[in-house]
Amino acid sequence: MESQTAISQIVPQVPVTDDEQWTTIIRPRNGWFDIDLGELWRYRDLIRLFVRRDFVAQYKQTILGPLWFVIQPLFTTLVFTIIFGRVAKIPTDGAPAFLFFLAGTVCWSYFSLCLTQTADTFVTNAHIFGKVYFPRLVIPISIVISNLLKWLIQFGLFLGFLFYFMLKSGPITVSAWALVTPLLLIQMGLLSLGCGILVSSMTTRYQDLRHVVAFGAQLWMYATPIVYPLSQIPEGYRLWFLLNPMTAIVESFRYAFLGTSAVTLNYVLISVGITALLVFLGIVSFSRVEKTFVDTV
């Protein structure tokens, strides 16, 4: 950030008499969309270091270290396989039950982790925010990125089991669509970022919402085809499932790797549209809160 480019806007009450070059102009919050993306880019090193801090700190504080990222989805999937697969006998579109649930869990755990953590942005960083300025969006962005590393480990786990099942029981068709996984991941990151910062800007007014987030994320999981396939949902209800952008993401992921899904291109487009809308709403409400948040704590 050698040179902070001037935010050139017309200042009505003060006639500009000097033609000096100002690097920064501090002014009241103006407009409903007041986020300087260029500035965010200049702070990319900070994002990098926050990601590193999150990873190192978490790694150092636990005995098992990164192993936790493997244990958690593994056990969740085992429980799902037993309860929903064996006991409730929910069909899995012909894919091996364990792989089916693992695919859902790997996607969902990334999303819900990002969501719950970004929702706490203002509350957990109140102290830093009160002492030093940097674009506040740096925090939720670094959360979404640092969780990517965890996702990669879990994705590795998934691939491991996928190969194991392919060798053991044969016919699983991984299609070329697997190559769009990074896009799915980006969409999930953006979606959780959008929802998270939307909630976080509301938690500055209502702290109760923090409790709603953890609980809400759990309910949201059951509203997403994680423990059941979309194909099991009657046509009449599908529309409601499509309003949930995670539906298309999870189903697309399964389609790519397990070849089983009821997802269509339309579903994907709706999902992308709703994601974009949520990200937009999130940024707008975040920008309303970030400049004066400090006054309320």
Partner: protein, 424 residues
């Protein structure tokens, strides 16, 4: 010299009502009560008053220009708006009206070590903290050796900072801040941390920053630091700039004068229990006329001043001594005085229960200036109950003018006291 900071018509408003988190439950409760025409169960007591004064202006129409290379000291009493101004300048919070134009990179030290993580090593924290302050990774790399050298913790640079002593922690944190190399450095009371040796180092560093043509804004309650470091000073009062001058000593003197005038000349025990001991409980300690009525400060030197004491006596004790100690502005003690200083049969009689004592401070004894009086007391030869300079009740007295009736003596003379002696 070019202007590097230009503050134009800056206002900052705080809403008193929104301090702290609201809960959705309570808001709904309040709304429901209003809907039914019931009183709001969550309204603060005396809400009528607070609704009127629910907003305060922490900064009122500030206009200020800071030139390149200035070391500007910002002084003022607590609540004068100094910290708010620094917060707005460092972009921690946004102004309500007006604007600030800044030329160059600004770094603010409202705190050292912001964002330090205990699990990370010194090295990792230097990078993280530097980036939080706005440095890029290559910049930190270039400065790294210098930072470690300045901090003096090179041996432990790869140890997690949770194992650091608090001194080492502050040293490392300040070292990062000191090497930011911004064009404008904002410092808030950071000097208050660390030992004397380290403070000296920090002051030296700030001086060096300013000599390098960069600009420093410093908020401090340490007037001698302001006087030695700064070449310009701003006195803030009640959210506005009261004085802005390059006569730093003048501004500091003005602050001191104003401070003593408005400082309390009356102390009242807030809950009636403070400083209580088995012999007595002080209730009030104040300056007034002979009848105990308030007198306006500063006091002219040709009037008698009475020092009043009110207390509850629990038990009588022959050896109980109560009185006051008086200090000059610079802190030198002038004298002690006890009600038991005269001959024994002239001492005021005290009975258990509510008691009053008063003592005359003769006119034409003190010099022009500000004085501090302490309520002191003890059991003679046995123990202190209110020992001088241990945070006992304090009141202030300021004396100005009417030093003598002589046409030759109208100005303040050197010396702690200025009595008019008899000449024959």
């Amino acid at each position: 010299m070019s202007t590097v900071i230009k503050i134009e018509n800056l206002w900052k408003e705080y809403r008193l009502g929104v301090i702290g988190y609201r809960s959705l439950h309570r808001d709904l409760q309040s709304r429901w009560a209003r809907l039914r025409g019931r009183p709001d169960p969550n309204a603060p007591l005396g809400a009528e008053i607070s609704r009127e004064s629910g907003k305060i202006w922490a900064l009122k129409d500030i206009n200020l220009e800071v030139k390149e290379g200035e070391i500007l000291g910002i002084i003022g009493r607590n609540g004068a708006g100094k910290s708010t101004l620094l917060k707005v300048l460092s972009r921690v919070t946004a102004p309500t009206r007006g604007q600030i134009k800044i030329k160059g990179r600004i770094a603010s030290l409202l705190e050292v070590g912001t964002g330090f993580h205990p699990e990370l090593t010194g090295r990792e924290n230097v990078f993280l903290n530097g980036a939080i302050m706005g440095m890029t990774i290559p910049e930190i790399k270039a400065k790294f050796d210098e930072i470690v050298d300045f901090s003096g913790v090179e041996q432990f640079i790869d140890t997690p900072v949770k194992r650091y002593s608090s001194g080492m922690y502050v040293r490392l944190a300040f070292a990062v801040a000191a090497h930011l190399e911004p064009e404008i450095l904002i410092v808030d009371e950071v000097l208050a941390v660390g030992d004397a040796e380290f403070q000296k180092k920090c002051l030296g560093k700030m001086d060096q920053v300013a000599k390098g043509g960069r600009t420093v804004l410093l908020v401090s309650h340490n007037m001698s630091a302001i006087e030695t470091l700064c070449n310009k000073a701003v006195l803030m009062n009640n959210g506005a700039v009261a004085l802005h001058s390059s006569d730093v000593r003048g501004v500091v003197a003005n602050y001191r004068k104003n401070d003593t005038i408005t400082a309390l000349s009356k102390w009242v025990n807030p809950d009636g229990r403070l400083y209580s001991n088995q012999w007595f409980t002080p209730l009030a300690f104040y300056i007034g006329d002979a009848a105990g009525r308030d007198i306006t400060m500063p006091v002219a030197n040709d009037t008698d001043v009475w020092i009043h004491f009110e207390f509850t006596l629990h038990k009588t004790n022959e050896a109980l001594s109560l009185g006051y100690a008086i200090y000059s502005e610079e802190g030198s003690m002038l004298y002690w005085s006890y009600y038991t200083d005269g001959a024994e049969d002239l001492w005021p009689k005290l009975e258990p229960g509510f008691c009053r004592l008063k003592s005359r401070l003769p006119s034409r004894l003190l010099n022009e200036g500000a004085y501090k009086l302490e309520f002191i007391g003890g059991i003679h030869f046995a123990e202190w109950l209110l020992a001088p300079e241990t945070g006992v009740p304090i009141i202030n007295l300021s004396v100005q003018g009417c030093l003598s009736d002589s046409p030759y003596w109208v100005m303040k003379r050197p010396g702690l006291i200025a009595p008019v002696m008899d000449w024959f």
